[in-house]
Amino acid sequence: MSKRAHSSPGKGAENLMSDTARSVQTSLDSAREGNARIDTVPKLLLRNAAEFGQRPAMRHKDLGIWQSWTWSQVSEQVRDLALGLRKLGFQRGESVAIVGTNRPRLYWAFAAVQSLGGIPVPMYQDSVADEMVYVLEHAEVRFAIVEDQEQVDKILSVSDQLPHLRHMIYDEDRGLKDYDHTRLHSYQAVQELGRAERRSNPGSDAWLLEEIAKGCGADVSVMLYTSGTTGRPKGVMLTHDNVVRSGQNANIFDHFTEKDTMIAYLPMAWVGDHIFTYGQAYAGGLCVACPESPATAIDDRREIGPTYFFAPPRVFETMLTEISVRMEDAGRLKRAMYSYFMKVAERAGSKILDRQPVGITDRILYWIGDKLVYAPLRNRMGFSNLRLGYTAGEAIGPELFRFYRSLGLNLKQLYGQTEASVFITMQPDGQVSSDTVGTPGPETEVKISETGEVLFKSPGVFLKYFKNDEATAATKTPDGWVKTGDAGFIDSRGHLRIIDRAKDVGKLNNGALFSPKYLENRLKFYPEVKEAVAFGDKRDYVTMFVNIDLVSVGNWAERNNVSYASYQELAGDPRVIDLVKRRVVELNKALASEPLMAGSQIKRFIILHKELDADDGELTRTQKVRRSFIAERYASLLAALYDGSTEATISVEVTFEDGRKGRIEGRMQVVEIAINPAAAAPIKEAAE
């Protein structure tokens, strides 16, 4: 039955191009002519310094005050660092690791390295040293530019395994003054080297411009290691063409200019951050603000008021949970106002945003609601100036999506991956819904393979995986299509819908389609559930592991006088189990009415005694569940789900945040739920 839904023969990519996409095509062509020679990011920087020299390029909150740098100041910072790196012996083609939270100096390091023809390799700053070794070694990193002592210590602790590494440069000098500085340098010291070079050698500016001119669009601009749900991370090589054109296309698609502002708070090693806050910012001259620290990002966002914001659904979910929790604690008047006007917003908000007809009463009510509730809420979340928000990476709950759109926030979805320099499909304005991911972006083609897998072609298609031709060949077809590994289909309006990872879609023993991620996401849409892991491929029925959401359930417990001392205790409380059970029953009821999914209702589940954690290898660093690893680790629980027992015990090793290990033991209840009869007729047909 999946085949029927997935393959939509006869729909060429041309037909899929939406009107918006076609209309931007013309502006694309004209823009491209003007930019013909600006084919690398450092060249974009030179252009920005010339064209928007006095406009802010970067802001950073430091010691409680927002510091700003204009494009011409940024170009000077980059120049000094580049000359300093050169002085330290940096050679064209060498790679440089960049590790840390979002800070201006680390972003400048990208441009400085690229100016010299080098390849920056951003890395996840919360990886432990052992995880870092692989990337540092595989990418043959010669220089490392890092944030602070923490990163320096991590790399020093494994430096004997890194024969290529020559120099390390740090931004924040706290605690580092007594370190051996023969191969360790402060960022300022390196820039000072560059400035000294300029003083003693007047030709150095011209030399650097020549170096920048040597670069071309086909050169590798950055190497991004994908976190990988399986196996070792792969180094995705993106060219300057990829980054520059993806950035330009996205700016044209959503009309971003140098007047827009965004906030950089997602990991620098992630392709989204690289394309949005680096590629797109440089391509369009956008201003990027860096928060003071990850902990202050939300307050800092309020102060900056970005016009463009990206976040995975998880972030939007957390925000909504926080608002709901606070509203429940608010006074009666506020609560009444909130619930009344949120109903108005639900009726009228999205329609007003999409410029659809709305009655005059609702318009007036919405206007009042905006003054009293929506605008203060938007301000609370730091979205007062928001023109556009994107979400991607995971499915977003329909209620969640509607909530933000009804407040008047233009939240849209996109679909992308590292190998595409992010953009594959995007939702054009006015064609937004929670269950699709939009139409192919500018200059992008999408098709569905025989097996139901989504394939694409775009200017952002990566060059290859570094030192891994086998994987490259497995992903890129000879005629230029890239396999996404996602199963999906194109709906009647030409919008792409993603169901799951192609390899994860399986079948139950009775032949019904089993899509674990689809089920997990549906359950995770409930605020009580933080994480869920579904099993069912080649089994008789579907089962799940569930993690409760400590914020939401904790608040519920407080209001219902349920006392608890730990996550484990709360998760094991019969009333909490009952709470989750009711949600699963609700979900089953909803599933029963969906032809494709009626067969995969959840029969049994266990609430896990600990939260799934990346430090224990249960989640990837981007917080995706590693299903097979979890199945192995919790084998005894999984067995209990299928052998009819009503209880299960387990003891697992956990890693604490400071690296020590311990064991957590637990006895858990297995909960069984009745399966609803499938809503007869349509399923038969779909399951033929």
Binding site: L63, G64, D178, Y179, D180, S293, T296, D299, E657, D658
Partner: protein
């Protein structure tokens, strides 16, 4: 339990400049303090050298906090001489002590609960403010310039103690561990020469203790601040301090390096009790 072992280990791994422990900064000679018939401190003498971390330990009710109160002028001893920076003093007010460079934190956090972290730390700058109340209230001209200058100092402390995320939060809403950190921040804001810490790690979990130990070591190491602290966690005390004075029933029973104190029979008896 070696709370700061890893921090120490880290320090040892790197070639560190030898810390400068200088001349005697504070000297107490035969100090006695009693409240009515209760003798809180009996004839105690010890000194604190410039740049060192000096711990005062002892069982409950040994007179440790009284000792700190004597040092910062809150209590006035009936007998004995206190010499601070070469100057003898008898009765002095806490604000005089503060103006001479002695700052302290309290066993039970004594912050302004309704005020933000930033404002609490700014109160530590009061001593340094030159303009009068009138100009301060106007917030104009020189008073504003002064305020900006003090705010910059406060911000550096906030950055140092890693409490930027709670800068604007009323301290009453903060968990205990963070309140302790804010209190340390307020003490640091006075730019003290001698910092008195009354159980800086009481009621903290392991991670908070590690953080606090790190801050204490860095304050001592980077700014050269002399520190006298009371602490019950023996692991912390042994790892942090250069010298330890042990009190029991108001009397000094031992004084020396951590190793010496640990081996002292009288100390062992005081802590474990003796069979009579």
């Amino acid at each position: 339990m070696n709370v700061v072992a890893d921090i120490i280990a880290l320090d040892n791994a790197q070639p560190t400049a030898p810390r400068r422990i200088g001349e005697v900064m504070l000297k107490l000679d035969n100090v006695s303090l009693s409240f009515g018939g209760v003798k809180a401190i009996r004839d105690v003498s010890f000194d604190v050298r410039r740049g060192e971390i000096r711990a005062i330990i002892g069982p409950n009710g040994a007179g440790k906090t009284s000792m700190l109160n004597v040092i910062n002028g809150f209590y006035h001893p009936q007998q004995g001489v206190i010499t601070f920076k070469g100057e003898q003093r008898s009765a002095m007010r806490p604000y005089v002590a503060a103006s001479q460079g002695i700052a302290r934190t309290f066993q039970n956090v004594a912050l302004f609960k309704g005020m933000s972290t930033l404002d609490n730390i700014m109160t530590g700058r009061t001593m340094k403010m030159k303009r009068g109340l009138f100009w301060q209230a106007l917030r104009h001209g020189p008073a504003m310039a002064e305020e900006i200058e003090h705010r910059a100092v406060a911000e550096r402390i906030i950055d140092f103690l890693e409490i930027a995320h709670i800068r604007k939060t009323p301290v009453g809403r903060l968990p205990y561990g963070l309140q302790k950190r804010v209190e340390l921040g307020r003490a640091l804001a006075t730019e003290p020469e001698l910092l008195l810490l009354d159980e800086p790690m009481a009621g903290m979990n392991l991670e908070e203790k590690q953080d606090m130990s790190r801050f204490i070591l860095t304050v001592n190491d980077t700014f050269g601040t002399t520190i006298a602290l009371i602490e019950h966690d023996m692991g912390v005390v042994m790892d942090l301090s250069d010298r330890i004075v042990v009190l029991d029933y108001g009397q000094k029973i031992a004084d020396g390096t951590p190793a010496e104190v640990k081996a002292d029979q009288k100390v062992i008896d005081a802590y474990l009790g003796v069979a009579h």
